[in-house]
């Protein structure tokens, strides 16, 4: 394939048709179709739904639109956001995509720092996958926010809020990831050797900062005791994310690397990823076994013994139990490892769902009491809050898979990241040793 060299990067010359209509992109288009449907629905609900207040009724007597809005106020579903459960599937998907993507980059950066050859060889593909997942998470959360007011994040800031801190974080973090990817792909060997170590160190630090800020985002909500009483929440996010990241890397390796790597390289890679997944699953299991001793009893009751118990058991089975059984024994068969990886990927999503929905499940107030006013005279009384996500949310969450596939496919088409193999020139460990030796001399 014809290539062009720009800033030390070999970029494939490719036609627009080949870029947008290859095998991966076709699957991506299907999911992106869901994203578009979701965005249309959300925009309609948010900006084009007719609403009214008491002043409208006085100002426009006899107006058909006001009458429709009043009808919707009485018989409608009460708007896009429910006051008892403000954070829903958007946040679940955002957490999952962002933490898992960051987890992949954390594993790769740390492995590179430690000089683990088998990860270095496939680092470019993994980092692209991680970046694509982070962008999918950001796509999800940007669909949730009111973008018409988003400039306030820049011009009217509360620098102490964890949610605002994510803004400067991503302005540093995403360029760092891009720089890391650049160093893996560039032909400028001397430059890459010079900056690789600080970039990787900064990247790992940014990862840790991210998990800390994300945990603050939840633990600052004083009233939601599931989040405030979850012990060592930063560690929980880190471990659970690395577990699912390792699972994603196993699945990715089977789909992408298997055909391109000799068996002598592929086997150790899978064995290494399997070990990471197994250790994380064990730590996560130990964590889940003890965490609910510390969680507020009202929330622990709902999750362990209340309406969430089947979700929680399914989460434990898929994210921890089944993968542990499949990965603990060296059965030597790839399908079982794939099964374990898929199990972790599904189970962890359920874990995030329980984390977000669970915190909202315990009623903050008896706003309308427990009587007929809240549930209607003929409906059974419920004590737990649970609202199904809207179609728009579900479509956007599905659409985020399209974002992952599209970003990955586009980067891969231009830079061949799935075929890129780490070269000696960016061996960070060697560079670090060189630096150390020269200083010692």
């Amino acid at each position: 394939m014809e290539k062009r060299l720009i800033a030390g990067l070999e970029i494939n010359k490719i036609s627009l048709k080949a870029l947008l209509f290859n095998k991966t992109m076709l699957i991506a288009w299907i999911f992106l179709g869901f994203a578009v449907a979701g965005i249309v629905e959300v925009l309609h609900e948010r900006y084009f739904l007719i609403t009214a207040n008491a002043w409208d009724a006085a100002a426009h007597p006899g107006s058909r639109e006001v009458a429709e809005a009043m009808k919707a106020a009485v018989f409608g579903e009460g708007g896009e956001v429910k006051r008892e459960a403000p954070w829903t599937l958007y946040i679940v998907n955002y957490m999952y995509m962002l933490y898992s993507g960051s987890g992949i980059i954390f594993v790769v950066s740390l492995s590179e720092l430690l000089g683990i050859e088998m990860i270095k060889k496939t680092a470019a593909g993994f980092i692209t996958l991680g970046l694509a997942m982070i962008l999918a998470g950001l796509f999800t959360i940007s669909s949730d926010l009111n973008l018409l007011h988003i400039k306030s994040l820049f011009f009217s800031t509360n620098t102490k809020a964890a949610m605002w801190l994510m803004l400067p974080l991503y302005f540093v973090y995403i360029p760092l990831i891009l720089l890391e990817l650049y160093l893996l792909l560039t032909k400028k060997i001397a430059f890459a050797r010079k900056v690789a170590l600080p970039v990787l160190l900064l990247s790992v630090l940014a990862e840790l900062a991210e998990y800390y800020i994300q945990s603050s985002l939840f633990s600052m909500n004083e009233a939601r005791h599931l989040w405030t009483t979850y012990p060592l929440i930063t560690l929980y996010f880190l471990i659970s994310s690395v577990a699912v990241s390792a699972a994603l890397m196993i699945l990715y390796s089977f789909l992408v690397n298997r055909k391109q790597m000799p068996d002598t390289e592929f086997r150790p890679l899978i064995r290494f990823l399997k070990k990471i997944a197994l250790y994380c699953v064990v730590i996560l299991g130990a964590y889940e076994a003890t965490a609910y001793l510390f969680v507020d009893k009202k929330w622990a009751q709902i999750i362990l013994f209340g309406d969430f118990r089947w979700y929680f058991l399914t989460y434990l089975t898929f994210a921890i139990g089944l993968p542990f059984v499949l990965l603990y024994r060296e059965l030597g068969k790839y399908p079982l490892k794939i099964l374990a990886a898929v199990s972790i990927i599904i189970g962890s999503y359920l874990g995030r769902l329980i984390f977000v929905y669970g915190a909202n499940a315990y009623p903050m107030s008896d706003r309308f009491g427990v009587g007929f006013e809240k549930y209607g005279e003929y409906e059974p009384i419920q004590h737990m809050i649970f609202h199904m996500p809207s179609d728009g949310e579900i479509f956007i969450s599905l659409g985020s898979i399209g974002v992952i596939l599209a970003v990955y496919a586009l980067v891969d088409m231009f830079f061949n990241v799935s075929k890129a193999r780490g070269k000696e020139r960016i061996s960070v460990q060697n560079y670090a040793l060189d630096c150390l030796m020269s200083k010692l001399k």
């Binding site: 306030s152 809020a161 004083e222 903050m364 009587g371």
Partner: protein, 224 residues
């Protein structure tokens, strides 16, 4: 100034005049879930005798409000008089404040695509010289009394000095400013209508909490 409200909640007859007045006065979006103030019903029983406790409620305008801390744009902020306001123009609808509020006092105003909540009618009545909120003015049984905690001679402080009261979810440490007055002459009924872990306060026991929280947060109060 430090605005607050006392509620003679046992007087409430659930006529919902306050809810209607609030919507009318402040142009609140129509809809059962879109309310700045509400009356909650708790169905309870004492030794098999059922009764319904009516709790009129709204934003507690907490002196140490967690909703202000989590807001990334400062849309949720302290205003003069220790009020908690939301600026609809800078609200990005992250809904963090709704998660942080222990009282479910916030909701999304779909008309402005921003979070909305009670303002104690500061912008629609108090700045125009009124001395009562719309809910207080319309209440037929005189449930609410709005006033200034800094004015020792105000009706509100005088009332709090005479009566015992409690606040909602005191353990959250938010120092709320809705004071629920216990019935004067029926201690038995009064004690049964609140939770066993609810602390009953007098003005002397609660005033230090107010002063401490005010000292901490007053530098953040913005003029309206």
């Amino acid at each position: 100034m430090n605005f607050a409200m006392a509620l003679e909640y046992q007087n409430c007859i659930d006529c919902k005049a306050c809810e209607v007045a609030c919507k009318e006065q402040n142009g609140v979006q129509l809809g059962a879930d879109k309310q700045r103030i509400w009356v909650s019903q708790s169905e309870k029983s004492v030794f098999g005798q059922p009764f319904v406790a009516l709790h009129p409620s709204q934003c507690n305008h907490c002196l140490d409000a967690p909703c202000v801390d989590v807001c990334p744009t400062g849309a949720s902020h302290f205003a003069e008089g220790g009020l908690v306001f939301t600026d609809k123009e800078t609200c990005i609808l992250c809904k963090g404040c709704m998660e942080a509020c222990p009282y479910d006092a916030r909701f999304v105003d779909d008309k402005h695509v921003a979070v909305d909540k009670c303002t104690f009618c500061y912008d629609t009545r108090i700045v125009h010289g009124e001395t009562t909120t719309a809910c207080q003015a319309t209440c037929p049984t005189k449930v609410r009394l709005f006033g200034d905690l800094d004015d020792e001679d105000s009706d509100l402080v005088q009332l709090l000095k005479q009566r015992k009261f409690y606040v909602l979810k005191e353990a959250e440490g938010t120092v709320p400013k809705l004071f629920y007055l216990l019935p004067e002459n029926d201690d038995y009924f009064a004690m049964n209508s609140v939770s066993t872990d609810t602390t009953i306060h007098t003005w002397d026991t609660f005033k230090p909490l107010i002063e401490k929280a005010k000292a901490k947060r007053k530098p953040q109060w913005k003029s309206v």
